[in-house]
Symmetry: C2
Subunit: 314 residues, 2 copies
Amino acid sequence: MVYIGIDVGGTGIQMGVVDEKGQIIAKGAIVTRTDIPFEDQVKAMADCALETLEKSGHTLIELASIGLGIPGIADQKTGVVPFCTNLGWKNVPLRETFQKYIDKPIFIDNDATVAGLAESVAGVSANTDSSVFLTLGTGVGAGIVIRGKVWSGFHGVGSEVGHMIMEIDGEPCSCGNRGCLERYTSATAIIRMAREAVAKHPDSLIMSLCGGDPSLINAKMVFDAAREGDEQGLKVFRRYARYLGQAIATIVNFFDPEVIVLGGGVSKAGKFLLDAVREEAPKYCIYKSMPISRIELAELGPDAGIIGAAMLGL
Amino acid sequence: MVYIGIDVGGTGIQMGVVDEKGQIIAKGAIVTRTDIPFEDQVKAMADCALETLEKSGHTLIELASIGLGIPGIADQKTGVVPFCTNLGWKNVPLRETFQKYIDKPIFIDNDATVAGLAESVAGVSANTDSSVFLTLGTGVGAGIVIRGKVWSGFHGVGSEVGHMIMEIDGEPCSCGNRGCLERYTSATAIIRMAREAVAKHPDSLIMSLCGGDPSLINAKMVFDAAREGDEQGLKVFRRYARYLGQAIATIVNFFDPEVIVLGGGVSKAGKFLLDAVREEAPKYCIYKSMPISRIELAELGPDAGIIGAAMLGL
């Protein structure tokens, strides 16, 4: 049997036909159009899915299920998506609508959750008891996998690690609260800290890397400056590693999964970040002499969304 | 079959013979002695367990297993207790030693975890998919139950909700870190906030309730003053409810269990506290219009430790 995985993004929709081991056999893609009705969006996805299936050399009979990873949440019981802001969806019957075009079991989950599942099937957390996957990007998302199954909570509103409160009355968050974890551990946090640093120290290498325009600073520039030994770059990097270490310790102290996986744009800093975080996290875990969750870098890259969505049906 | 549950405390050790439904058939107790060798402590527990079994009218053949809830953690694979500070234990082979006296399956887990399990078998969270039980006492402990089974993490160091970081560089904690959740949501936190309040406002009712000696303030006095409408009591109470609401929102945003149960000394404030926390928590959850974990008061009281320890073997 084969599985179709659809990674629904705000600008593009990637999909693939995937085998039981999480290997992609064929790929397809369409542009995300928010200017057409929901029903037409779903039809375009289904058409592309059928084409991709044909390209893979498999038939509908061999297709076990279709999974969708969305930048939002889904009601697992009804298949209704209450929110998916980037797509303009609110309370849309995604499963039911999709099944009008392809009558197969349809599974829907959050994109970070799905990427975490992919790592647990075919990536760095394969064959583990439990894992928490973190997407360190503009915000911070997460995917929790317990014994091979995704855990999005009883009401489907869990695994929102980015919105755990890390600082009472702290930095304002786009969600309306203050002090959310993602305000300290996202790429956005790195950029904010770097802008504060260059305002006081315009001689920093970060300033050269952004061409003198702090509005152009990105996380890579800051970490590149840190690697070069730039004082402000290093300060921001160390502060970020400490915050991320504290966030990871909070996950260990509460949930203690076998593995914590770092994914998303910031994780591209690789070993430089991993080494720093592995040094910081244990300082904030309660049992200093006990083993804690392994901290690893994600392995699958951009295909994780397709693979994980497909594996929802496994 | 029957199950023996042993609630190992720093001053007393309570035990009971419990049936499959979590009902206590017979009870026993000994005083905790830290002045005798570990081996003798275990023998005293085993002797009392055998007497209690006899009192219950059951025999060794009908005894399925023995469970121990300890104020520390245990290695589930080896039955070794790496830490149990109040008992003076460090790396003691608790399971192996106990089995010298009673050769039955022995299960060991943290006392808060065990109390959470008890509520999930015979208390307020019975028949739920998942629950997080909070003991709001001198510190804050927790028990996570997923589909009838306790979850203490892959390495056994999880469910330490009290040591999730809630405030970067916040209040110093006895664990050596700063800003741990229990610094804001324990009885100790209430007392600290009340002492600060009466130092500035000695005319507060709290001051009369403690007989003019702030070193005698306890959480009940503060909440009693709040109930009477005392301004300082109300301020501390509202601040505490906000912190506890934020802590609960953090648990919802990460884990989203079906139920969150409030136990421990502070929860004796009952509906007064429950109503306030039910109002505060949703404010800090990310999805404002979605259902979240039910928040409930623990039902079982001091017997939870015995029942939950026994139910480890179920």
